[in-house]
Symmetry: C2
């Protein structure tokens, strides 16, 4: 693409670094910004700069936070004995949206994935093991994606926890509520039969 302006080219180049945004989309976005009042662009770049410079990770759970301790960890009405291990902050938001969980979280920051060069040391596994070693945690709930990487990460942490008396569990896999049985994949359907639950339990929540 030939640009008539270096400034435009730079903006499009930087914008197209974002995942899923190619040069054409980047150009469309940048030209849109140029048509809007100047303040909109300044607010955007200001918000991005501030975010990157001032954002903190909660020192307890590694959730994104404006303060040293995130709102969830600082909330005395939530039980610190149960810790839900998730991949990233979007999973925290998704679980929080259900309103069903009153424990703490632990954000790993990714999954073990040798293909992408991500090993255990790049994730916050060590602080989790240390928290468990302090003896205040009763149950760890694994809530990672049900992929090869997710399962590997679960298993790695599980192995690290051997010898401690913490209870481990994983979120239930099964047919989504509202889904037709015939369209479910065999693995999910198989697991949902193996891990069937008492009918009375299915009427809760």
């Amino acid at each position: 693409m030939d640009f008539s302006s270096k400034l435009l080219e730079q903006a499009v180049d930087e914008m197209s670094q974002l995942p899923g945004i190619g040069k054409r989309t980047a150009l469309r976005l940048v030209l849109h910004l140029l048509k809007q009042p100047e303040e909109q662009t300044l607010r955007l770049s200001d918000a991005l700069t501030k975010l990157r410079k001032d954002i903190k990770l909660c020192r307890n759970c590694f959730n994104i936070s404006d303060t040293e301790l995130c709102e969830i960890c600082a909330n005395p009405s939530r039980s610190a004995e149960i810790v839900c291990v998730v991949e990233d902050i979007r999973d925290v938001m998704a679980i929080e949206n259900t309103g069903q969980y009153r424990g703490h979280y632990h954000v790993l920051g990714g999954k073990i994935s040798p293909m992408d060069g991500i090993g255990p040391s790049q994730l916050t596994i060590k602080p989790l093991i240390e928290k468990v070693a302090e003896g205040k945690i009763e149950e760890i709930i694994f809530a990672l994606s049900s992929t090869l990487e997710g399962d590997t990460t679960n298993f790695y942490i599980f192995k690290q926890l051997e010898g401690t008396n913490v209870k481990t569990s994983t979120i239930a896999r099964g047919i989504s509520v509202g889904d037709e049985l015939e369209y479910a994949d065999e693995v999910t359907l198989g697991r949902s039969i193996t891990n069937r639950i008492p009918f009375e339990n299915s009427m809760k929540g």
Copy 2:
């Protein structure tokens, strides 16, 4: 969506102001930036700020430019007698990419569209008429999209040019090169028959 951080929320809010980017995509983009080195975010916000503050429009053709007069208008080897009227800078880039055009452009900055509240006064139609009045332009080529708004804009400018002896033309509408005839719409096919060209001409370019 509940955010654990005000900074994050602001960045997502601003990002989701962009066309085609919803809250979820914005969150994905922002979290991606957080995982990348700090410089990437700073370069992006810097490029956007600079673009918005320093960008100029060419005083002759209203193309985006770093200088008073854009590269095309400043190029002495291009003929200023032919002016191609386009909607925005992306059209300039598209036509430039063909390598077939050696004249000047005139960027309108949009199309007349009462539905979107865009009238002739918001576009650069007046400067175009003034350029024509100076008598140096021989031909105006309309290259707007073939939509109701595009046709309206063409016709409005055409009417404004009455009384001047400038030649007006419009880019050819027809079946795209490589397209199957049977899938073409009737209007395009009809026009391509009405405006048929000598066979010898079709072998050029």
